[in-house]
Structures are given as C-alpha cells and as structure tokens.
Symmetry: C2
Subunit: 435 residues, 2 copies
Amino acid sequence: MGKIGVGLVGWGTVGCGVIQTLRENAAAIEARLGCGLELMRVADLDLARERPVSVPRERLTTNAEDILQDPEIKIVIELMGGLKAARALICSALEKGKHVVTANKALLAHEGNELFGLARQKGVSLSFEASVGGGIPIIKALREGLAANRITKIFGILNGTANYILTRMTDNGLTFAQALKEAQGLGYAEADPTLDVEGIDTAHKLAIASALAFGTPIQFDRVHTEGISRIDPIDIQYADEFGYRIKLLAIARNVDGRLEMRVHPTLIAKNHVLAGVKGAYNAVHIEGNAVGDVMLYGMGAGMMPTGSAVVSDLVDVARDILNGTPGRIPPLAFLADKLEHIEIKPVSDVKTSYYFRFLAFDRPGVLSKISGVLGNRGISIAAVIQKGRHADSVPIVMVTHEALERSVMEALEEIDKLDLVLAPTTLIRIENGAD
Amino acid sequence: MGKIGVGLVGWGTVGCGVIQTLRENAAAIEARLGCGLELMRVADLDLARERPVSVPRERLTTNAEDILQDPEIKIVIELMGGLKAARALICSALEKGKHVVTANKALLAHEGNELFGLARQKGVSLSFEASVGGGIPIIKALREGLAANRITKIFGILNGTANYILTRMTDNGLTFAQALKEAQGLGYAEADPTLDVEGIDTAHKLAIASALAFGTPIQFDRVHTEGISRIDPIDIQYADEFGYRIKLLAIARNVDGRLEMRVHPTLIAKNHVLAGVKGAYNAVHIEGNAVGDVMLYGMGAGMMPTGSAVVSDLVDVARDILNGTPGRIPPLAFLADKLEHIEIKPVSDVKTSYYFRFLAFDRPGVLSKISGVLGNRGISIAAVIQKGRHADSVPIVMVTHEALERSVMEALEEIDKLDLVLAPTTLIRIENGAD
C-alpha cells in the first residue's frame, strides 16, 4: 500500500501526541484508510528541548520552508499556535496546494473565514477537529453526524482549565486564586492564564462551533464573553443551596432568526449532566430539530486526546486525497455561498434567569425595597436566601424567573444606587438546559 | 441545483420521521449538500393506517418493486424491519446498483457481513447510522471521528425500553411487571417485549458497534446476553445501599487480543455518568488508546431522532454519489480484507466484580460458611449487608472485588447446595467504568 506524506510544524505537547498516535496506531490507521500516513518532517524553532516523544534527527528541521517546499508532503499540520506566524504558514501551505490540519482555534476564530476562502480557492482542505473539544469529535458531529438537522442550540463546557479551577473551588473550597495557582503548578494553566480564565478560549471555540451549527460565517467578535476570575467561593456555596453548580458555559441559540452567542459563568442544576463534568473534561449539548438533545463528552485537551483529533482529520483528508475529492465537505458544514450573516442578538436582548447576591445594611424593609425595584421591571423572584450577617450588613441572595437582560441591568443600576446597598451586586446567569 | 431520488420502504414511525425531516429541513440539507434529496416513492403494504405524516397519494405504493425498478431512485431506505423480507429487499436494491440506508440492527447483526460483502461487490453503499443509538452519531464517531485510535472498550446503554423500565423501577419503586405494563401502555414496549427486555436488541447493537470498534466481522451469536426480566426491586434497593444503580449495559473490551462482548444487568456507581441516563435515553462510552474516554448521549429511539440518523446517512451517501466515490468508507470502518476474526472470550473467562444476594437460614456461622467458599475460590469480598429477616431466613448481600467468572460460578454452585441456603443465589455483575 502507498503512503501519504505529512509534515508537522510545532513540536509541542499536541505535536508529540500526533507523533505518538501516528506511530502507535499506524497499523490500525492503515487498515482503515488503505494507505499509510508518513510523518516525513517535523519543524520547530527549538529542537533541543526535552520532549516525551522523539523524532529521528534527519526528519527534524528548524525551517518550516523545508516542509512547504517538499513535494512529497501533501498535508501540513499546523500546531505552532499564535496568530501571525501560524497564519502565514497556513496561507503558504494552502497556496502551494497542500492540505492543512490545525488545532488553532484562536486563529480560526479571528481569520477562519478568509482562510477557508483561500482553501476553497486552492481546492484543498483546511481541517480543524482538534480546535474545539480536544479529542471529542464535535466538529464531525455538527458537520456530518447531525447533517439532517436544523441546529437550534449548542451549549457546554469547552475549556478544561476553567473547568478544573471551578471543580476545585466547588469540591474543595479553594478560592479562585488558590485553584489557579494549583492549575499552573500542574501545567493545566499558562503563566498568563487570561485566555482560559477570562473565557476567551471558550469564545473562540463557541464562535467556530456556532458557524458550523447555524450556517453563518465565524463571528468571534460578537461573542459576549465573561470569565471566572471574579467568582467568589460564597457564590458557589449559595448556588449549591439553591441546587446549582457554577460552570463556565458557552451558549449559542438561534432564537427567531437571531443568534445568541455568549460565554459566562453560569448556574446549572446539580442534576444536569453538565454539572457532573469535572476537571479537565469538556462536554457539549447540541439540540437539533430532529434529533432532540445530543451530548458529547470527553477530554477537551491534552497531548493524546488532541492528537487523536488531529490524526482523525489526517485520515479524513488522506481519504479525500485518495479519492480525488479534496474539500469534499464544506469546512463550515454549509456551502460557502449558503452561509448567512445571521444577526447577533446583543446581550441586553437575551432572556434568561438570574442569580443575584446583594450586600445591604441589615435594616427592616431592605428586601422589600430591592424586590420592589425588580418587580417594577417585571423581574419575578423564584427563591430568596437571607441569612448570616457580617457586622451590620447582610447578604441577600436570590434566583429569578426568566427576565430580559436589559431590564435586569436597569434594575441593578437602580438597586446599586440605594443607600441601603453596600456593594455592587453580583450577577450570574442561570441556564435551565431546556430551551 | 440537482436532486437525488430516494425511495422509502416501510412507512412506520421511523419512516414518518424520515419524511418529516426531509420535508422540514430540506433547505438546510440542500445548503450543506449542494443538492436536494427528493423522496420519490414510499412503499408500505398498509397505506390506509392513520399516520402523523402524510404523503401525496401518487407517491405511495404497496409494491416495493416500484422503487427497485425506478431508475431515478438512487438510494433505497429500508425501514420494514424483520429479517427475511428486509434482506430480500436490500439484496435486490444492492444488486440493482442502488445504495441502501437501513436502521435494521437485527438484520445487520445476523447477516451484515454478507450484505456488506454484496454492497462492496456492487460498488454501492450500505449505511446504518440509525441501527445503533438512534439519533446519536455513534457509527460515525467509531468509524471516522475516532479513526486515529485503537479502540479498547465500548460500554453503554443501548436500549431505551429496558432503560425506561429500570428507571421507573429505580425512581418509583415499580416491579418489573408493573413498569413493563406501563411501558407497553405508552407505546415504548412491544406487545411481545422479548427483544428489548431480554437484551437481544442491545446485543444486536453491541455486535455491530464492536465490529466497527475492533475491526472484526459482526459476531452476534457470540454476545453473552442476559435481560432484565428477573431484576427484583429488592436488588435495586440493595444496590442503592452499596452506592450503585442497576442498568442494562452492553460491554465490549479487547483484552490481550481476545474480545469480550456481553449484555447484562449491571451495577454501576451512582456518580458514574451512565447511572444518570434516564428513561428512553441512550449513552455510549468509547475508550480509545489516544482519545481516552469519550461519551455520546442522546435519544436512542423515536420517530424524529432515528429519522435524523437515517437522513444524515442519506446526506453522506448523496455526497458520495455527487463525488463519484460510492463506498468511500468501509462500512465496518476497516477495509474488508483487514477485518480480523478476533477470538471471543467465553464469559467464564471474564474478570469483573459481582453483587450477590444469598437467602439463607438465620443461623450462626452462615456468613462464615458462604464467605469461606468464596475465599477458597479466590473471591474477595468488598462489602456485606446482612439485615432484615423474613421468618427464619435472612438475605445476605455482598459485593466482591474483581474475580474470575468461572470461579464465581463454581463457588455459587457449591453455596447453593449448602443446607443453610434456601434459594438460588442472585448474581449481578458490576462495572467500574475504568478498565
């Protein structure tokens, strides 16, 4: 049987996973594909660093051009990360008629639309299963497995680092700072954890998944994004008393022809499957108008899971090479000329339920005043907890029925101005799972 | 854009789901595929029955030959169910060079190997996403999404009827007979529920999924199969006290080059995701040597979910027609000449943990006698409950550490012969999730 030549740019953690997967599973891959995948070259600027997986010296290079110029290499794997250099590499590879497999969600979120356009123009594939949900075949499910559906909603946990931190805060009572420090010590979080803990990485992934789900170009800059760095252990405790866990959720819904895309800490019922997703696991619910509710769960990151996704993409691309059908399936699931610019709903138009924690002077009538302001804006209270006392102040915690975010913001502005109220109110949205 | 002609044989519940999905989602399907799917004819012996979805009279026929003979029809959907007539229809369609999409797990479990051989010979597709897990894209995940992996284990809940009955028994204290009757009243269970409650339907699905996972021909007759009809509410209660739920699980593992395939009631820890799968939902864990543990969850049956799977297959097959690449992916994931006859482990060679309920005379030394027999066979007890009393008898309930099934059977034979023991011992296997 023949071989298809592959080149890898970026010999980091995921790169090692790709090399090991190709090596360990060569026989199984060949038995499926009818052809081998040969990793001909590996490029990285730093070849000296200690790594868990070795590469024969003659296949190593510090110059990605060696891969781009090699006519035997049909597929280039981009695992450099970052934006500018990765973009340049991918563009060069596509321009040269090479297929590209990438895990670079940041780049796709920012420039995917242009890159997919270039791939189409050049008649090659640009594949990215590893960019969302690590090893979980989410992209394939959205693009092919559920192709019979109009997707109405996707929501889930898409960042293992943030989920690890929240899990430690919930199960072990750590503060955000403590849990973050631990995650950094374990290598789960970067020295600069902004992308993970501020929800930006989750937003990258949601933007990509939403495009596939709803048939719209990637609109990353329209994702409403909030992170978990301001989550206080006290809110985790109160949420627990109301029957909820706090998770960093990505939520996208098509409501009456407008698209909601948001990433924020969210209360979700303890008995919901997502509440049980712990540590570095990811999980995504997909709602289709035929299939109903489908959920996919697995490791959202890591050397081998992400390597699994990259190599599964390689198998797909190789099959298209063997069949002479490159770009057989549109990367964003819908044909490029069928993608619609669906209007994005501003977050002020979102309707959902809310958790509020007020800090007020412990005076008679304070609850009545606060609930009065809410009532005037049509915000109806589902449950209240008022207990404990710090000196003269009292926390008042409540969850609401569904309300319009604009009304909520107006009400909180008014409440935070009350003399009785001591601190800005904490707001966390609630997701009820069902539409 | 063009149209690809489709014919449907079997206008039942799932058939209605297919028709409705094709109708409601025509625009979304065409936007993905670049071509319409036109349902040209629907065949059923009974056209008079009331149905939730109508079909224009001129497209209806009682004669499947009208579909087989129509050169415009490129894809035949087989939803007749049953073995003999369905087999004849599929063979005729394949012989005529038509592609076939089926949801018929019983037929594939029994005769899939021959049918896939015929499809290959004729250069057409035989697709079957709907045969396992209803709307959940399990087949696609096993065949493509996880193609980089060697799959080491699959286990899960694959029959919604049995799961509904066990859920009602667990959550509401019904007996098996009561829950079955209710399920029949709701249309979830057939008048003859044997296939569902005796685990046979689950075994059909496990045999198919195992072939895809492990690269072996379908070996349905080698699946060890036990159903749930003998599950006593008392065992559900004791399992609960030990921290377990009882589920009808399908389990397949590749252990040292031999394959374990078994379907039986199983204790699974309450905090395991599968324990929370309720009612008619299905869920499957897949363990791959690269990806780790992946889980897929969704509706395992029903008009629209199963319709979603059938129509997603249609989209795939239509894409292959448009690209001139029929049979592009081997139906059992591995190339036909790469399928290996992996040896199936007899259940007596299986190693797992066990739940036992003994009924014994309430005499001093009875526990010591029973545990002595177990100890002599190397079966180590993890926990025991001995309490309650019915007249002179006492139930002794225990869970064991991992033991060899052969030793367990020998020990129980010996124990059941003891004068002190009043009734045959109840045995239920335990699944710890991890390998």
